[in-house]
Symmetry: D2
Subunit: 343 residues, 4 copies
Amino acid sequence: MIKVGIVGGTGYTGVELLRLLSGHPEVKLAVITSRSEAGLPVADLFPNLRGHVDLVFSEPDVDVLAGCDVVFFATPHGVAMNMAAQLVKQSTRVIDLGADFRIRDAKLWEQWYGMAHTEPEMLSQAVYGLPEVNRTAIKSAQLIACPGCYPTAVQLGFLPLIEKGLIDTHHLIADAKSGVSGAGRKASVGALLGEVSESMKAYAVAGHRHLPEIVQGLSTVAGKDVGLTFVPHLTPMIRGIHATLYGKLKGSGSELQALYEERYADEPFVDVMPAGSHPETRSVKGVNTCRISIHIPQGGDTVVILSVIDNLVKGASGQAVQNMNLMFGFAETAGLDSIALMP
Amino acid sequence: MIKVGIVGGTGYTGVELLRLLSGHPEVKLAVITSRSEAGLPVADLFPNLRGHVDLVFSEPDVDVLAGCDVVFFATPHGVAMNMAAQLVKQSTRVIDLGADFRIRDAKLWEQWYGMAHTEPEMLSQAVYGLPEVNRTAIKSAQLIACPGCYPTAVQLGFLPLIEKGLIDTHHLIADAKSGVSGAGRKASVGALLGEVSESMKAYAVAGHRHLPEIVQGLSTVAGKDVGLTFVPHLTPMIRGIHATLYGKLKGSGSELQALYEERYADEPFVDVMPAGSHPETRSVKGVNTCRISIHIPQGGDTVVILSVIDNLVKGASGQAVQNMNLMFGFAETAGLDSIALMP
Amino acid sequence: MIKVGIVGGTGYTGVELLRLLSGHPEVKLAVITSRSEAGLPVADLFPNLRGHVDLVFSEPDVDVLAGCDVVFFATPHGVAMNMAAQLVKQSTRVIDLGADFRIRDAKLWEQWYGMAHTEPEMLSQAVYGLPEVNRTAIKSAQLIACPGCYPTAVQLGFLPLIEKGLIDTHHLIADAKSGVSGAGRKASVGALLGEVSESMKAYAVAGHRHLPEIVQGLSTVAGKDVGLTFVPHLTPMIRGIHATLYGKLKGSGSELQALYEERYADEPFVDVMPAGSHPETRSVKGVNTCRISIHIPQGGDTVVILSVIDNLVKGASGQAVQNMNLMFGFAETAGLDSIALMP
Amino acid sequence: MIKVGIVGGTGYTGVELLRLLSGHPEVKLAVITSRSEAGLPVADLFPNLRGHVDLVFSEPDVDVLAGCDVVFFATPHGVAMNMAAQLVKQSTRVIDLGADFRIRDAKLWEQWYGMAHTEPEMLSQAVYGLPEVNRTAIKSAQLIACPGCYPTAVQLGFLPLIEKGLIDTHHLIADAKSGVSGAGRKASVGALLGEVSESMKAYAVAGHRHLPEIVQGLSTVAGKDVGLTFVPHLTPMIRGIHATLYGKLKGSGSELQALYEERYADEPFVDVMPAGSHPETRSVKGVNTCRISIHIPQGGDTVVILSVIDNLVKGASGQAVQNMNLMFGFAETAGLDSIALMP
């Protein structure tokens, strides 16, 4: 059993972490912090946790957190970087679900996130927590930068094609649709049911913060800069991301189904669907799986990859737990083996 | 480990049984039948089960089913009664999630269900599977009639008041709101998203099949016939029942909170919320819990009970598993200890 | 053509007023105010108005507003009372969609709304704008207090029964279900899609501000104090209220269908459905109609009335326009004759 | 006033036609047919029409229909072609909302629709009813093939670029998201709320029937065959299509905003949004408008066009009425000037 702390437990990734960790056989939840809710029992804020979690929110305190084996940051960007260095110095491992350590280039980070990075020297130390790419490095990492939700769905979808050099990497297109929980649990007009239900819209077409993260990840794999057009859409549902990916094939594409099946054969959380399938986001609701299918419409030279995840699980808290499992030598699927709720 | 069979696995209670049973530590899923889908792998119909359930639908065959320790019927009314007798004779225990054995009076059953009852003599043998009322009888039962979804929410809400004789039982009112999954997974215009989304309506106000079942249950507890007005409503969501119950108090009602807490203190799946609470159906999404709160608005003589369940879990498949646990001496919460998905 | 002003046009009742008034044959929209959005074209905030409304939000200014024939207040309570007196003095008629003038007893108002009433002497002058009850008084009113959304659905449902003295008025029950737009268009966690979608809950069971308003209305009709238990519920949809009303009949109830049909025969916006019907809220989406049906389940002594409206139309902006039509001698249905969107 | 008939009024495009036509100043609804519902008052099936439409469904009868000036077919493919010839012969004009006359090549039609075309010689006579392309021809047409919903959104989005030859027409991509009403109002498991709510999926990636229609339309404009990858998605909402279009620019793209504004300056139902906008489908809910915005992310060579319509209005019944207006010399916006419901 390891002692686990969570910083910032009042958002959607926080409550999802609590749900996953409280059922984890190797974890003892020790601390959960929230400045705004200090003193409140967690189960008063999230009634689904009644009878399962008896923790009380406390003020964040680095010394207390340093008593944990690992601390998760389920916070907006700009929070984790202020405490991570102190924790890592005291040998507490850190898994940041926020964006602070995702971009290796501090200047680029500052440009997209609009604030100064206070720990630029830690960027090289952070491991990007996509196990399907960085499993070995994750195992020994002190600091994990958990991927964003869109980047997870998009990278897992494109990965085999780019690793094998099978598509034109100058003109990648990712058309992604996300449920509204991606906007977080904070007071806003833009995510009211009255505003987003019964409607569909694209947003941030000019540039979304997940764009440089995806480009960095795919460029690393490609060994050269890739060009990506990324258009996120807000979809009237709570959970789920459906990424529809388009690329121009260099060759025939006849082996793609086999390529994907082989690439992900040993991955516990990537499911390559049978040829001709259309994965639904509901098939991964509440679970850590990414389901992928591959299409080449009309046998042309455009490949279409469909990739679905639950943005709060494989796109955030579940992936964070998967990283923790790797870091501490637990079974990779520990605490993550439930079945999606359907319907 | 016991061997379990399921008859009728293509509906919503069927897939929910599969989800719950495939994570159950004492269960081996042996058979799942479907006339219409015989030969199809279950996970092809329900992609959430990919990687978890590798069964194939088969034609229903009593001899094969009789090789199981227990068989669940997740079928429309009229199916279970034709096979239950044969199974029970061969010492296979039967848990019917349908309505065939819920009403003890065969004539009354025939009147509400519009068909002949082929096994009226089994009605007295069947145990009504509401553990909070019939736990002892359930343990040794050969044949369980699982309560309907509305009856579960309504009875658990009214029970303490009626047991103690604290309300006028001639004028009970149950205003119940159900998600659309209660209508089942069958082709129909009435449950299309285009018909029921963004709308609210009552239905079957003149008389719903769950009315005689609730009246039978409450009358048994009251020791006399109760009078109930029951109005079900279709709510634009997938899962959940919210029952709002009204009764006229005979006395002051000042002890009701304590009464409910005491009545359900040892019940693993009934959660009496703090005074002043408003339970949300989402707080029980996917789990077997019934959450209840008690209100006496403006200190008057009308008591308002709020009772929420997931219609597919405590209202169907979860309760069926709870019954199975009792019948086979497993921990009552075995396979039923997950946390509701929220958001 | 009359000149119309709107104070507070950034909420849901504001945009709905704009939609209805911009298609009204007798109205010229002259002013729309918003402190927070002054200078912004209305159609930039509400893109559905592009090409239909070219007004710009302006700072509220009593002198400018006094140049209008009528001013609508689509504001939270506490705003209209500060400007209404000045406007009425200058012969501008006022229609308040908020709560400031709905309760005739200033002390009672202050108790429920938690603030001092600054114009208590105007309360007796205000006409409660429910045309089905106060049509004559409305025609000559200077100041209209538009009914709340729940009070409209509940009063129209109970009215014929209470006028005729056919039910026990000590134990009225109103179980009401509202779409989320009733919570308004303001930043809040409680109305996020992630919080309220796929869930159902009661709220304010201990006491909702619409309770004293309904009691006042029904008591006036009854000629004595009525007793009402009112339980509002939040429903996962944008628009619509479904009120399910329960009362104990004094007599047989055999004439109720005819009574309702007769009572509302000349009402352009109340539709008594055929016996046995179940009105759906979607059947009034976007229109000013209230649809009602009457049931006496199992021929007992409990009557069940189903009453549905669109909370933003008959429950707010449509009813306000209906009042305006009466005040200025227009056809009562002018600007209100469109058909509900379905599906 | 013209006499109008509708064949097949029980689906979603049928009820939407009724809504639009019953408010049309130049139209008298004379006949509405339905084999399955003959004898039923229309308002019994669609309660939103109560008080507005008093027609009764009748058996389809060509002689009766031939007494109309124009007959709309709101039927599945394969129905209109059997009656259109007879009607046109008797000088009744025909507007087919179905697919029978959309594809000029009978062989191609038969390949995609899987049945024989019984009136191939009428294909050349039919005018494709997209007014923004074919306004002149529509005015004198006897037979209109109304465009499909996806084809309307996609063609209006791509049109200016292709007319001016500004993009690579070999690699067009249309990623389209549709509400569930696009699947029609017929009993099916696939469109149940329990199946499609809270989920997102692509479908028919291998080939959707709207693909050849779009390709035909764009190729005609381009003067050569275009290559299109078309991926439709099912979105958990009732109405609306959001088409996200991708193309590779040949030149700089700096003039695109002006180009679109100019191209559609005189179009009453195409609204080019300001640069940087993200149109929402709800902004056109219930109205005949197509809203478009143009983006060139990061100033690259990929142009992204966002195009939204209401699939039942501009994508079906509204466009049909627009065609009728042109055919009979009415104002093009007659009966189509309402404002979208928002929220």
